[in-house]
């Protein structure tokens, strides 16, 4: 009888823990966007940048940043809470090389719970479109995503980890990042 009760308790715990673990794993994976579908554009692009920096490489990069140089010191401060930096940027020689379906898969990922579209700027005249997404957990930022498109360019940025936006703003002027006047509190409302 006792063994039956013990087995039942173990089974119940297992039934609760497995979905919990799956949810945690899924949420961690959701912060990182799957950008592999853009790899096919690399051969079509005139210029392309593909940056994939995971935890270990980020730590290694951090060791090579010189804190005596203001630019690198500022980068190192931002780097502290980061878990991954992923950038794919393509410059094409002519228009219409990539299609909207290429970007749709990324938009679909950003519609999942947790992601919030903070800013979206669209220029019909020039055909430029820039979107800024954030994944928030309370007041803490767990990740950001930027999608910038124009007829001859496609850039997707995905930064995973707890990002201190104040520190990120400090980078302005040092890496060419401007002072952002985006009030996150107002945007959320």
């Amino acid at each position: 009888m006792k063994s039956v009760i013990t087995k039942s308790l173990k089974l119940t715990c297992l039934l609760f823990l497995v979905p919990l673990f799956a949810t945690i794993t899924a949420s961690a994976q959701d912060v990182r966007l799957q950008l592999d579908n853009l790899n096919k554009l690399e051969s079509k692009a005139g210029n392309s940048v593909d940056v994939t920096l995971d935890g270990a490489l980020l730590q290694l990069a951090g060791k090579f940043l010189d804190i005596n140089k203001p630019k690198e010191a500022a980068v190192k401060e931002v780097l502290a809470g980061l878990k991954g930096v992923y950038v794919k940027s393509f410059e094409f020689d002519k228009e219409g090389v990539y299609s909207a379906t290429d970007v749709d898969s990324i938009h679909a990922q950003l519609r999942s719970p947790g992601w919030t579209r903070m800013v979206g700027v669209k220029s019909n005249k020039e055909g430029e479109n820039v979107e800024f997404y954030m994944m928030m957990n309370g007041n803490q930022v767990n990740g950001i995503a930027v999608i910038a498109t124009d007829p001859k360019q496609l850039t997707v940025v995905n930064i995973v980890g707890s990002i201190d936006l104040e520190k990120l703003l400090k980078l302005s002027g040092k890496l060419g990042i401007p002072d952002l006047d985006i009030d996150l509190g107002k945007q959320k409302k």
Binding site: V51, L57, F64, V75, V146, L175
Partner: protein, 203 residues
Amino acid sequence: MNEDYLWDKTGERDPEIERLERSLSSLRYKRTSKPLPLPVASRPQFRLNSTWLAAAAAIALLIFAGGLWLALHRSNSNEQSNGIAGGVVPEPIEFPKDVSVPPTVRTVNPTVQVAEDKKSDRLPETITSRASHNLNSSTQSVERMQKIALRVRNKERVLREEETIRKGELAKEQLIKALQITSDKLNAVQKKIQGTQEHNPIS
């Protein structure tokens, strides 16, 4: 009375004979199950005679003589190659006592001491010099091997460090590049927002 039964157990049975058969049955001949072993054929014995002994002794003597000749021949050729046979006596190598000797060499040092001790007993100098020369060459080869191993280890370490530095520098460049692109795009967003606010000022 028919005596066929007594002869070959045919014809009419005789109770008296049967009774006698029964009483004497225990003494009847019994054939053993195993057949008798065949007589073992005698092996031809090897006989040592004087001819065989002489032949064996001659072969042994020839082998011994050949070995001795080879040994002497090698010894002579070694001496000639060392320049001893030609009368050129190399100077005995002196081992400075104040110089610290590596552990591998220290284990061989007693032999050197014995060689030096024997030198005082007026042993031929060639023996001392040869022993010293052999010892020195073995020490040098051990040291050379140690140096090579150390050099290989150092080279591997340097290569690993260079690889790590290369990866680190590349990662740093990629990180700065990624942040540069991010900043450019955020800059574009800010400009657009500022432009919109200037055109449509919020009252």
